[in-house]
Amino acid sequence: MENAIQVTGLVARYGDREILKDISFFIPRGMTTVILGGSGCGKSTLLKHLIGLLKPTQGQIKINGKNIAALNENELNEVRKKMGILFQGAALLNSMTIADNVALPMREHTRLEETTIQIMVRMKLDLVGLSGFEEFYPSQLSGGMKKRAGLARAIALDPELLFFDEPSAGLDPITAAGLDELILKLRNVFKMTIIVVTHELPSVFTIADYVIMLDAGEIIFSGTLDELRASVHPRIKMFLERQPEQETYSPEDYFRIIAGE
């Protein structure tokens, strides 16, 4: 198994609070890896480190063998051109139409003719099932459609690596299943390496080839779906069997969890 991403000894802090506590793992190429964990355990924080939005307090993040923690902004931008990201709330630019949103990475990073860009935008939107919505603004779309549009933008430059932050959060089960299907299609047809951060079990069992489980800033599991099902780790069993947990948070932590995500 060849690795697309190799993380070693990653420590992440917000101020004095340690969110990721010295974690190491790898993400295999050409597969869908799901990073699983409860709310507030640091999934988004980890994702932001993987895409170079946050610099690690300590540790290495190697993408295609290059430690992105040590790159400067220009070098990082080169790496980012090979990445696509679908953010939790889609993060479409509200001042632009859907077509302009999808065209944005192409206009910024390629010298394609405007007509070519138009055609490619239509292809991407067609792929995510949004043909005909080119001239709509993000505020005119439903949550599921926004995510699809965000996905179209994420794959605009045919990235090698595609990241999803909670793709099915806030969506009804049917829409969420549709998005899972798209994720499967992208892996099967385009051979992309896909990294999905989520806490939704049903979609894990649909899309995952490889699972990494995060709990309170530490990795408690990494392996295949079968290994996950067979695990006897108490926290994993609790998660899989949806058992409630005893409140173990300190009041400040609890406040942060209910205040943030």
Partner: protein, 268 residues
């Protein structure tokens, strides 16, 4: 229980840390704005002209009515106040000088800047703040697009053009206000008033006003962007930052005005 002295010391340390972080953030944003506005275009990274035009319409063209009305009223008020004093010494015609010079040198630029602070400074902070809260700024960075270049530079170009342009307009309307009052209520002959104004105004007066206006445009954009990018939480923080942006930009506009006025007093 920590002692009171310890408490005070702790909070002082925390305060100092937060101030030094603010200064660091502010200098970083100023640095970025100048790099992406003036240096990187020289290296062949094009500016976003269409977006700049859009911003000019929003910040400039749409402020024309309010600038017109306020400048006209201020012109009238100024003429009244001048007449109140000048009438006693029988030098009513000098209303034209006072209105012309104080509008072009001072009131035109400052009225315009305050209106633009209220309209555009707050809008910039709100727009950037909600983009930050909705992860749109993160999305831009992750697409390899610098958010300062993408969001702030078009606004800066717009205000560097539009604040001086609105100031010229405000000067004109303000003087017109003074003129209307003078030829009606003060019964000064229109031709006399006109000639007096033309004689009183120097190119220098108008130019110093425009230099100020240009600087105010930079101040307003920078403050709005700074407050917007400071947002880390949700909607209620956007509201707070928006208010802070207006207050801070009006304050800084006045500070810069004081600075420029002092400079012009000694060096022109």
């Amino acid at each position: 229980m920590p002692s009171t002295a310890e408490n005070i010391l702790n909070s002082a340390v925390r305060k100092a840390r937060s101030i030094s972080r603010d200064i660091h953030d502010a200098s970083k944003i100023i640095n970025d704005i100048f790099f992406w506005s003036f240096i990187s275009p020289l290296k062949g990274k094009p500016l976003r002209f269409r977006a700049s035009i859009n911003e000019m319409v929003k910040a400039g063209y749409n402020s024309v009515p309010i600038v017109a009305v306020i400048s006209f009223f201020i012109g009238i008020i100024l003429a009244f106040q001048a007449a109140y004093q000048l009438k006693r010494v029988g030098a009513l015609i000098y209303v034209a000088n006072l209105v012309g010079v104080s509008i072009t040198r001072e009131l035109g630029p400052i009225i315009t800047a305050i209106i633009v602070s209220g309209r555009s400074g707050s809008a910039f902070a709100a727009e950037i703040g909600s983009m930050k809260a909705a992860e749109e700024v993160d999305a831009l960075i992750s697409m390899g697009i610098n958010p300062v270049r993408f969001i702030v530079v078009p606004k800066l170009i717009a205000l560097m053009v539009m604040v001086p342009a609105l100031t010229i307009f405000s000067d004109f309307i303000g003087i017109l206000g003074g003129f209307v009052l003078s030829v009606t209520i003060l019964e000064i002959h229109p031709v006399n008033y006109f000639l007096q104004t033309v004689n009183a105004l120097l190119v220098k007066d108008v130019m110093t006003g425009l230099i100020k206006a240009w600087a105010f445009g930079i101040v307003i954009t920078t403050v709005g962007a700074y407050q917007g990018f400071k947002v880390t939480g949700g909607a209620e923080e956007v509201g707070r930052r928006t208010t802070a942006a207006v207050v801070a930009s009006i304050f800084l506009v006045i500070v810069f005005d004081l600075f420029f006025t002092t400079m012009f007093y000694y060096f022109t």
